[in-house]
Symmetry: C2
Subunit: 575 residues, 2 copies
């Protein structure tokens, strides 16, 4: 089936299926969402108004048997950052959209009446249905209700109460193969979907299949590619301990942001580490390995049960555990898991919301370490949209402004993730320069700063960090276009067969002859397209800076500050 | 007594009296606060951190007998807008500071301990005293307690609970001659003073006097100047009906922003008009005329009593009455007066806070017209710093972000005042281009657009508006440096003797020979100095824009939008 653009106009409640414009044909995933947003969204528009659009695009390899190809990119102008935004996640939707012949789904406009809707996407197009039953419900209730309401195993994309209330920390949730949730967490894309009055989207490809131009070449390339992935030691560690393998590693480095970014090590790190999590899961009969989308060979997800053996959460990530753990000083995995489940259900980004809680603790709203207080606020305030709930649900910057806090770890108003840029300087360059606000996944220098993947760049010195971040951001933008999980990057950086195999996959899928240079050029094009959007929205180099306290407050144990000048940071864009 | 710079460092709790640097000698009021902030404050600093400074400067003529010369300028980097900020108000402090030989008071740093302080300024310097009794108290309680605690009639500068809580709508209050309050309302300067942990400042000049270089020339110039003021019909209307004379006038023009900026006329305008206020005051035994500072010959302030004849509020301004009245649809002067008194007591800007209430009404937090609800929120939420109270107390932009509202009337995050820029286009240029966020007092085109002062520029067409705003902004910056109330501008625009007399006053005070060109150049210097600060803080032309809805939503009854292109707006800076 030929790929098409599926377009839904929520102002007049119409839907259409369109040919793919030539300029979009070579793109997928992030490359496509950013191209479409840049082409069709006025950069100065209000992110929650009728002139914003939200775009869903499977990657170039999504829907195929290629290992780890199931990431779905979602793009829009972000209500959190005001920048262009792409956030991708696993789940089944990406493959199903690709199989339905949908190259991108664009939702535009805004209903005039105060009614809610759902969208049902099939190869024939999109049906727009009024929805009442599930309005006000959390994500788990949506997934459960739809399992009963619908036949088969449709893909489900949904928002919780936070998205309905247009909170800037609202994520978009995507059903995984087992009815769990994966989150396009960053940048408040759930609020954009909520502003369109779309509660959920179901995807049924019927008998649609992705056509591979050269099936044999594709299979062979996938064999080489998958082998490179499973052979890499970081892949293996991720499978064993999940992403949470990082707690002890980053703590050891002195770059684990703790107590709202005032320390680089957390005294309670052992209680929340990947090793402890692994043992706890085994004791309670959960699953140490779990794939967030079909075809994943790394399986960094897991199923974490409570003490009674009941499933508490899946996809229990390092970022969530760090943020609620070290940053909020909650040294209790069960409490963190409870908070994680609540955040997934309400539909808020676990990074943004947990860092917001840390700032709230700094402000005295609750005490550091008060995991029960966090859960109460999530249930009683955020989910219900009280004043405090709105403050938290709009992210860390919102809490800082509400309470007059000066130590607010955000860049472009987006919360800084689990690596302190004072002790791991490369990631500071990524936070500062990313077109998307602070986001480790945009150029994961931790690989080279800490994990010795792709070489070694000392995390504590300035030398080489800008170049490292630049190369990784360019490569990441390209990878984010393929539908591939970012964790293929470890193998791609160390195993010389990996990247060629990935390119072979794309060439075999589409009958192309792309080279490694084409991939680099794609990455550069994406970054420059995104930056041009931000410039037109009013962003300048002055926005590519870390908050003042990183320059003025020394981080123990290394007692270091972030010491890049503005001019040094700005050389990032010399390409 | 020679003028000096009084400097207080709150980090090490020291104070000093310094000679005036040559570059600052010719400046006063806004010219001086902006010069000092630009010279000493890092533009990228956090407004509530130790690197911001707050500067208090009497005008060039403050402390003399010159009519209407009692405005005090307060400057800092604003926590509301992120720009440089000057906000001036009446009261007795400006004259008393000048008489104490204080050209400017600079407060810098931030205490390391969580303690509160007061400052006592005399000609000898500043004493820093720990304060406990009045912490958590409203402004009226502070003024009342100090009347008992201190001898004489010291000047008092104070913050309410909002300033203590570092809310971005927090104002700085200045005692008037009768123990009432005047407010440096805009831009959250109260939060900056609160961040320095200074609850109040008392000023006792002892027997200090301002020295006039040429007393006879000064007296003669003042006679001409004062006559020009009292003779002007707008001055007379202001004396009769207060600034609230404008309700019916602006309503008639179709530019009275109503129901959160969705209409240009308010059906309840008669109930809240200056005429109704005047009659109500007379019936209840209040005062129709009242001066906010000694020497004012216009006397636009008044004392408004409740139905039982008890004083409710003074300085009951058009802006406050419009914002709580038309914009929130509260058609009850008594309810508005109650809210006004509460806002003065808590210490929040009545424009910012009332517009914030209008946005909250739009969001459904309370209903349009619910004056009792507004008072409840002020008392129970804002004064106590609850979640909702923080959202409101941080201004209209804060409410918009918290509730995902797209119709949020702010520029550079500061609430737009009482003139809709769609129906009165000149003021839209001022809102957009002002270095301080939306602020009518920065270039009051209403004079010429509506009141036919200084000529006539049709409010509904684009022609001539940029030039009008430019000329007025330049003139205003200069006037704001003199200590003069902006209301001298009506006479200055229409009476050819007025401006020369003002220049004569300055020349006689300091033995100078300034010309009208010097005054214009001063205004230009101030605007450019302020803009350079903002540019260094990261602002660009893209910030000189009105919110999207002004371009897309037609305002009844004229059914007009704001239709200046960005390029047209940017020509403002061609000077």
């Amino acid at each position: 089936m030929a790929d098409k653009i599926f377009r839904v106009n929520m102002t007049d409640l119409t839907a259409s299926v369109e040919e793919v414009p030539a300029a979009w044909a070579a793109h997928g995933g992030r490359g496509l969402t950013s191209t479409i947003v840049a082409a069709e969204v006025l950069p100065t528009c209000h992110p929650l108004g009728p002139n914003n659009k939200i775009v869903f695009a499977p990657g170039l390899l999504s829907g195929t048997i290629a290992a780890n190809s199931g990431r779905l990119s979602i793009g829009a102008k972000s209500p959190l950052t005001g920048t262009i935004k792409e956030s991708n996640a696993g789940g089944t939707a990406s493959a199903l959209l690709a199989r339905a012949g949908c190259k991108a789904l664009i939702i535009e406009g805004q209903p005039k009446e105060d009614k809610w809707y759902s969208l049902a996407l099939t190869p024939d197009g999109v049906m727009i249905n009024e929805e009442t039953e599930l309005i006000g419900k959390g994500n788990f209730a949506v997934v459960e209700a739809l399992a009963t309401r619908l036949e088969g195993k449709p893909g489900i994309i949904t928002i919780g109460q936070a998205g309905e209330m247009r909170m800037s920390a609202a994520n978009v949730s995507i059903k995984d193969p087992d009815g769990g949730l994966r989150s396009s967490g960053r940048g408040g894309l759930g609020a954009v979907l909520g502003s369109k009055k779309v509660k959920f989207i179901t995807i049924d490809p019927k008998d649609g299949k992705v056509v591979i131009a050269k099936p044999d070449a594709f299979k062979e390339a996938n064999r080489v590619f998958a082998k490179a992935l499973v052979d890499h030691p970081v892949s293996q560690a991720l499978g064993q301990y999940g992403t949470n393998v990082l707690v002890n590693i980053i703590n050891e480095s002195g770059g684990l942001p703790t107590r709202n970014f005032t320390q680089g090590q957390f005294e309670g790190h052992d209680s929340i580490s990947g090793e402890t999590m692994h043992d706890t899961i085994e004791q309670r009969g959960g699953r140490v390995k779990h794939n967030c989308h079909p075809g994943c060979v790394i399986q960094c997800s897991q199923v974490f049960n409570d003490a009674k053996g009941k499933k508490m959460t899946s996809g229990f990530e390092y970022e969530s555990i760090w943020a609620m753990g070290a940053d909020c000083c909650v040294d209790d995995l069960d409490k963190i898991a409870e908070a994680d489940r609540l955040m997934d259900d309400i539909g808020v980004d676990t990074i943004e919301t947990s860092v917001a809680m840390g700032v709230a603790m700094q402000a005295g709203v609750l005490s550091f370490g008060d995991g029960a207080g966090v859960c109460r606020i999530l249930k009683e305030e955020v989910a219900k949209g009280t004043g405090l709930g709105r403050i938290i649900g709009n992210g860390a910057g919102s809490v800082g402004r509400a309470y007059g806090v000066t130590r607010v770890p955000v860049v472009k108003n987006q919360a800084i993730p689990a690596y302190d840029p004072r002790a791991i300087k490369g990631i500071g360059i990524t936070y500062a320069t990313s077109t998307q606000g602070a986001d480790h996944t945009m150029g994961y220098t931790i690989a080279t700063n800490i994990l010795n993947v792709g070489g070694k760049v000392d995390p504590l010195t300035k030398e080489g960090q800008v170049e490292l971040s630049r190369n990784l951001q360019i490569a990441t933008a390209a990878i984010d276009s393929t539908g591939m999980c970012l964790f293929i990057a470890f193998a791609a950086l160390d195993d010389e067969k990996c990247l060629p195999a990935l390119i072979d996959l794309i060439n075999a899928r589409y009958d192309l002859s792309l080279t490694a240079d084409d991939v680099v050029n794609l990455g550069k094009y994406i970054l420059k397209t995104e930056r041009a959007f931000n410039t037109a929205a009013g962003f300048t180099a002055m926005d590519d800076r870390l908050p003042e306290f990183f320059y003025n407050e020394k981080l123990p144990p290394h007692n270091v500050v972030f010491d890049f000048t503005g001019e040094e940071i700005d050389t990032f864009w010399d390409f």
